[in-house]
Symmetry: C2
Subunit: 167 residues, 2 copies
């Protein structure tokens, strides 16, 4: 089974640091994502400072996994004039690549949505003193999973249509 | 090397049909994507009718790969009240999963952006007689690659920051 089918959200982590070469693999995967006109409208912040992770865990109701995460990656959405309407899609592909490579590396992860919600953006931007045209797009909490989690298959044949829409 | 690093856009395809079990694998990968509050705001149209593929190749300047594609998948973005602001991100993760599983299956693929551009939406919706609240999100052209393509590594260490933004 490919790691695409094994990926699931992991929200509790062991107190074991992630090897630096694994973080590099996650960042390589992120930057290998496709982007509209190859604009690559992204930068990345790696957070392994526990006090910052704790502050970021207050961003939203779903941010509590950052309390036990040993690391987080924040993809930043950057200005681009090449194809601005597709920047969110580009950043989403990069985020998904990080989640999948984490699974491939034996790590757990969960995607915490930030952009475009104003209250979440301002909490993260205040915490990291981000200003200007760059914005935090998401936070990916990372770590070794506290528990194994059974994989749920979400495939639903009723959602597939052939050569036409409907029925 | 994981297939995440091997994926690249393929725009010319051999005239060889894709096995149905490979299409199923792509759809399984798509529906295994994460989504906000697990809302799964997606359905999928599989197109293997050559006359429809040809008509869809006129959608945008970048849609010509559909002329030689033997198949295309159109993820549809569906209404959802759970977390509507994150539907584009959910659909992007599903699209990226299809591209990656295609690479894993030895297939070539390219992501053709549709949503939210009005002219592209109306061409696809007119071609497939789509109306109402469901919209085509992207078109993924698929097929066996006409040529091998060298993998370009896009990793750039200058785009990585640690525990703070800037410098």
């Amino acid at each position: 089974m490919s790691f695409i089918l094994k990926r699931c959200s992991i929200r509790e982590f062991k107190d074991i640091a992630i090897e630096p070469e694994k973080i590099t693999a996650l960042l390589q995967a992120a930057m290998q994502a496709p982007s509209a006109k190859n604009q690559q409208p992204w930068e990345f912040i790696v957070i392994d400072d526990k006090s910052i992770l704790l502050e970021l865990s207050k961003t939203s109701a779903g941010s509590w996994p950052l309390k036990t995460a040993t690391c987080a990656i924040i993809p930043m959405i950057m200005p681009s004039e090449l194809s601005p309407h597709f920047r969110v899609q580009d950043l989403s592909a990069a985020t998904e690549n990080i989640l999948l490579e984490a699974t491939n590396q034996g790590l757990g992860s969960v995607w915490i949505g930030i952009y475009p919600l104003e209250d979440r953006l301002s909490h993260v931007e205040n915490t990291l003193r981000i200003c200007g045209d760059a914005h935090p797009f998401s936070i990916i909490a990372l770590g070794y999973p506290l528990k194994e989690k059974a994989v749920l298959t979400r495939f639903d044949a009723k959602r597939v249509h052939y050569n036409k829409w409907g029925e």
